[in-house]
Symmetry: C2
Subunit: 158 residues, 2 copies
Amino acid sequence: MHDIKPIGVIHSPYSNIEDMPIQPKGASGVKGQVLVNEAYIDGLQDLEGFSHIYLLYSFHQAARTELVVTPFMDNQPRGVFSTRSPLRPNHIGISIVRLKKIQANTLFVEDIDVLDQTPLLDIKPYMHKFDAVKASRSGWMQSSDDDIKKKRSDARFK
Amino acid sequence: MHDIKPIGVIHSPYSNIEDMPIQPKGASGVKGQVLVNEAYIDGLQDLEGFSHIYLLYSFHQAARTELVVTPFMDNQPRGVFSTRSPLRPNHIGISIVRLKKIQANTLFVEDIDVLDQTPLLDIKPYMHKFDAVKASRSGWMQSSDDDIKKKRSDARFK
């Protein structure tokens, strides 16, 4: 398998995991910058045409792996692969954020829900034709939009 | 940053990249199995409640990185981060597939668009409340659903 290394770094207003939004939906309007290593700048061509992008990154402050966790939006232990917890094997996170503009190797984004200094692994365009799921069932996850917006993280996944 | 290693393997009917669907939308009903290493079996609890899951994996047959590529759905060169090409730095792919059932450490999935023997990196639940994007703009990507369904890959990203 290919080696995986950071291709840049994500800057956000959140330097501590405590009190951070738990998902982009809870971070509406929160501004961040994605700095892509200069070696990869040509890869950013044409990206500005997309309103939303996936960021793939490493949960760098997750210090351990746990196979069963209690998610922020639930009060019962759940298998980690049925959650978005950072304590998953490989500690890879994904967030769909709004792309506002690109200047040289800096992406200005909104709705950012990651820690400052998060190592960036990849950027992909959100494509409605590929990514929109028309009807889905969300298992244990029954919280309201309002609950998700209000929820803030704590130290449980550190 | 955390080391990233396979946590399992994806089996699909596609042993060659030529003639493979280019996205889950082109692989409707195509059956695959995701074998998760037995060490992680407890992490699969509660996942069966979700109708759709993200698979994160390594494009193991991508032999090089290119920063500008001509995507399958376009006839112009584009920055690789504005595409879903396997030739991206780190060679990480994501697909949203249907989860039909789980037996022990095997996930039975549909709409699979990856090569047989693809190394699995992570599984995440698709959560409508986190992941649905209400209105988005998809840049250069203007193909119809029908074009996407019909399109098959070729050797360009090998």
